[in-house]
Symmetry: C2
Subunit: 342 residues, 2 copies
DNA sequence: CTGAAAGCGCTTACAG
DNA sequence: CTGAAAGCGCTTACAG
């Protein structure tokens, strides 16, 4: 790899000890006499030795890497979580691999079976049943955790935002401003976030005794295009809602853009609230009221959880992995896209 | 790793051949008789064998991974390029590692020296001189390529957009609309993109005989905050420019947001043009006129270039790496944030 | 065309 | 506390 690779044997010769001793000096210094330890340390310094991870990992029967599966790397929401995960592993001897769900051709269990990874964090709750079954039969399921999204009915551990609570906060905020006619643009059909946010929204709307109209639940899919479509649906309505809760900030941007182009003012004519609080939400015009997810916490907790799972999987005495679900709190961020109904 | 790992030896036994033959069947099938090859293939299928990458890589003296160094994963501009790179390596036996420049503690040559990576793509042109020197002395410089950004005065190969041309297109577009008083919000001091875009901007402004005023070159740093600051500077001016060319879309958003909040209309009072064409540019209100960078091409070409560099580095007969700079074309995207001066 | 053997660079029981 | 030896799972000259 490098120009003149120095191996553990070279250090051993330099220090006048065996390779076993050098190895111990690096991993279990306590086992050695202070003098031998010092001698090895000097030899390491002189030779410029660096342990070869490929060899170490092979010997230790580990891959030294984890995979982060991202549904859409182009989405800044996910990439920030990826950043937090990456940061959590920085300085450890575990590398972070990434794969985009969109670029197919991957066969996920293959990463485990090929000895390329020790564990996986999936930000994608939409994995195929065949993938999940393959994890089970390959015996790697216990080294997988979900973050943000999860799989309904699966026992795989996950870290997620309190989506119901977020949706409740959104509706409550609109209600507090005086809104009664509240529409919702959902996420994609079948997505767990879609269900959770819609459920929270419906629950709060019911609790407050607000009118419930089916045509005010507009199916979206987190894409800009779906925000545009939803706006056009609303524009075409005879009696429009006075406020719209969008399942994501991106959707809210596209929705507002289309509404305003059509001469519908935000928030004077229609209030809009999003979900996520991505960075650009505060510089959109009008700035977007939204539900903030703690992306840093989501990423960090997922990383920690995975490390625990991997450790437990390697230790036959460890307790069986419980159905762990970690909730991360959400928070209402009030900006200028919401106001009292005109 | 998996439940019952099947090794090459198991396949050999099943097929009644040596492990060498199994290995050849997998990597150099042409060397074998059709019948032995078939026998091995059957045995592989029966046993469910998968080659262990850690072992193969150790034996072949490679790491089987490349590192992508990203200045800021939270920036959707970079993460899209990362997606393209990741896609380029999907299906190969090379994994893609990521590291965020921001989360320090990394010592980049260490990745090479530890045998963790075979090569690196840096999206960060701001690497420290000490890092670059370390690459050289470790003999790994020839397995590094830059994408988007690069290092001035370095001979390391790079793939980049034609930034000068983009800046020229931006100024020309504004001039075509009738603007004469054109301001520029720059990127961070010292950044190569900052220099290239400013140079292109100045050149075109001079070519067209437009007025050149120093206070219309406003120092920014690609951040939202710097866009806001720039807007406030402009608002405070006695004679404001009629158009502003921002060094990035993000900066343009923050700038427009602050201008409009202060009652300055875009584009009626001031036209704004960005650089990048990130996804949200078309749903900002007003939608943003900008210079599109082909992020997919940037990522894909960088990946290819790196593979070539790695191959050449492994082959002592390969020609010395030339100073390769690949330019990727840019394109003006006209939207609603620019118009004839009011 | 195929096999026996060495070895990639480490770690870790097993002795002492 | 330290060392000699085996072995992680592969690939590849070297013979034949």
């Amino acid at each position: 790899m490098a120009q003149k690779t120095v191996r553990i044997r070279d250090v051993a010769r330099e220090a006048g000890v065996s390779t076993a001793t050098v190895s111990r000096a690096l991993s279990n210094p306590d086992l050695l006499t202070e003098s031998t330890r010092k001698a090895v340390e000097d030899a390491v310094r002189i030779t410029g030795y660096r342990v070869n991870h490929a060899a170490r990992n092979l010997r230790m029967q580990r891959a030294g890497a984890v995979l982060v599966l991202v549904p859409n790397l182009g989405n800044p929401f996910f990439s920030t979580i990826l950043a937090a995960i990456s940061e959590s592993f920085a300085g450890t001897d575990t590398s972070v691999l990434i794969a985009d769900t969109a670029s197919g051709g991957r066969e996920l269990t293959g990463y485990f079976l090929d000895g390329r990874i020790d564990g996986m964090i999936s930000l994608d709750g939409g994995l195929a049943q065949s993938d999940l079954a393959a994890f089970d039969s390959a015996g790697v399921a216990e080294r997988i955790v979900f973050a943000c999204e999860w799989v309904d009915g699966s026992t795989l551990p996950s870290v997620r935002s309190d989506n119901e609570e977020g949706a409740r906060l959104a509706v409550q905020h609109l209600h507090d401003l005086g809104h009664r006619d509240i529409a919702h643009v959902t996420g994609p059909a079948g997505n767990v976030l879609t269900k959770a946010r819609r459920a929270g929204m419906l629950a709060e709307r019911a609790r407050l005794g607000l009118p419930s109209r089916d045509d005010w639940i507009i199916r979206g899919d987190f894409s800009l295009a779906s925000g545009r479509d939803a706006a056009n649906r609303i524009i075409a309505m005879k009696d429009r809602p006075s406020a719209v809760f969008c399942a994501s900030d991106q959707v809210a941007f596209a929705l507002m853009s289309t509404l305003m182009e059509a001469g519908v003012r935000v928030p004077e004519d229609i209030s809009v609230i999003g979900f996520d609080d991505i960075e650009l939400s505060k510089v959109y015009t009008p700035s977007l009221t939204t539900i903030r997810q703690d992306r840093h916490a989501l990423g960090c907790r997922a990383a920690q959880l995975l490390l625990e799972q991997i450790a437990a999987a390697g230790d036959p005495l460890a307790p069986a992995a419980p159905d762990r679900v970690e909730m991360v709190g959400v928070e209402l961020v009030t900006r200028q896209s919401t106001a009292a109904p005109g």
